[in-house]
Amino acid sequence: MARTRTIALTAGFLGLIFAPPVGQAIVELREGERPVIAELFAGAPAEAHLRQLEKSLDEASSLGSHLRPWYQVLKHRLTGDLGHKALRGREGWLFYQPDVKYLLEPYFRGQGPLPEGDPVAVIRDFKEQLASRGIDLLVVPVPGKPSVLPDRVSAALERTSEVNGNTRRFLSELREAGVETVDLQAAFRSRREAAGDDGALYLRTDTHWTGEGAVLAARRLAERVRRYSWYEGAAGERRYRTREASVMRRGDIVTMSGVPSAIETIPEELVRCRQVVDADGGLYRDLPESPVLLLGDSFSRIYQSDEPRAAGLIANLAYELQLPLASIVNDGGASTLVRQQLARRTQLLEGKRLVIWAFVERDVRFGLQGWKPVALWPEEPQPHDPTPAPGSPKLASP
């Protein structure tokens, strides 16, 4: 190697590896902070401490924050790639990878230990706790976008292709465990077959449903709720009416990709919603004393507390039932966190006849914090200790 080239390569390499840590320390000191690398000496060299240090270095890295978007844009420009969380479908449709992963992987129960907890056992336990207070439970897995729009993921799939055998099996096991369920998938598929196109049920670049999807889910749910014997007495006079509302929404799949060029170029979507108002024209509001409590996730939050407000699943279910609801909505936390939230506010269950628990189907596998049992009234003996699935570890009691 010619000496000049040798020196150039060596100098370039040394510059590349020496400049970032020195520059990072200078930036941190100028901002009045202790350099992150100094954490190395802040504790005993235990594994947890070292992993935390590595994570802190990654997160704090100025070089990383400059290079990351550059590389993301390069990949996006070259191949349209939006990172490992987004899957490009056909005709501009974007899908959330965990939604697809949930459909692809084998059914999770009966495959061995379930380190994240067994949802069937946990749901049965929850149902029995509620039943001890005379409250019914209705479980509603919300289909993810690729379950309803498989043909928008791949041209090899038909509109009618059955891709979510996992949820069908989950619903069937819940029913075997004595848990009442509502199958939204069937309703959504019927709509697609009738509409002939995508049925306008899901947003093109977002993980969630459209306003219309929320209304359809509310109708399907209301059909079941009306069959409860207490419903007639609870409904009373007609209190709500609807009006059209619309909102521009930037797809969360685009936003979470974090790719600047995608955020700049993929347009916002116009969403038409059915907004629910009361007799005075005021937007629908929850009533904590309602006989119905809905526990939900972001599918219950969208258009409800988000713009245009009072146009999501909750308001539309209230409209269909002509009955105000109580609700606890916990983005991404509908597997465990929403029940923890309820356990902190058990007074909300006073006078309740029904709890509707809606969560997106992928959370059966990937819910934030997994599926932990939650005792609603810990001071009382529990009606049932959730039995783990065959081969799964014993669930700890709270």
């Binding site: 992150v36 935390q52 997160e59 704090a60 909505v329 991404g332 923890q340 902190r344 506010r345 939650v374």
Partner: protein, 137 residues
């Protein structure tokens, strides 16, 4: 008359302050535990409960459980919609660091989203505070 009027004015002015102090408290505490890996926050909004030990004052040595909104992000980068509820200059949460905290007692009223609370199973009684502002001490 004049001193009485002044007292009345002072009381009137002080009333909101009293109401605020009933909901909020300011203190300095050491972050003693981040009980697990912080969950990803790209898709979900959430708050995460961490353990503190109060430094100095009447509450010195007391343990507090404090919910921080999206703790992976520097406080100054929290989205606009949450700015009235989350603030401060802290960039990273590291155990062992001292923080100046402004806390709210009414977590459920301030934030109705997901609260990731690893202490839930073992301890429901200790109150959870919402962190309104956190700065390096």
């Amino acid at each position: 008359m004049r001193p009485i009027a002044l007292c009345l004015v002072a009381l009137a002015l002080a009333a909101p302050a009293r109401a605020e102090s009933a909901e909020e408290l300011a203190l300095t505490a050491e972050l003693v535990e981040i009980p697990s890996e912080l969950p990803p926050d790209d898709l979900y909004d959430y708050a995460y409960v961490m353990k503190y030990r109060v430094q100095g004052g009447a509450q010195g040595g007391q343990t507090l459980l404090v919910a921080h909104y999206k703790p992976r992000q520097p406080r100054e980068k929290i989205e606009k919609a949450m700015r009235d509820r989350v603030g401060g200059k802290l960039k990273r949460f590291r155990t062992g660091d001292l923080h100046r905290l402004v806390l709210r007692r009414d977590l459920e009223k301030v934030f109705d989203g997901a609260v990731v609370d690893e202490y839930f199973a073992a301890d429901r009684k200790t109150p959870r505070y919402w962190c309104k502002q956190v700065d390096p001490a």
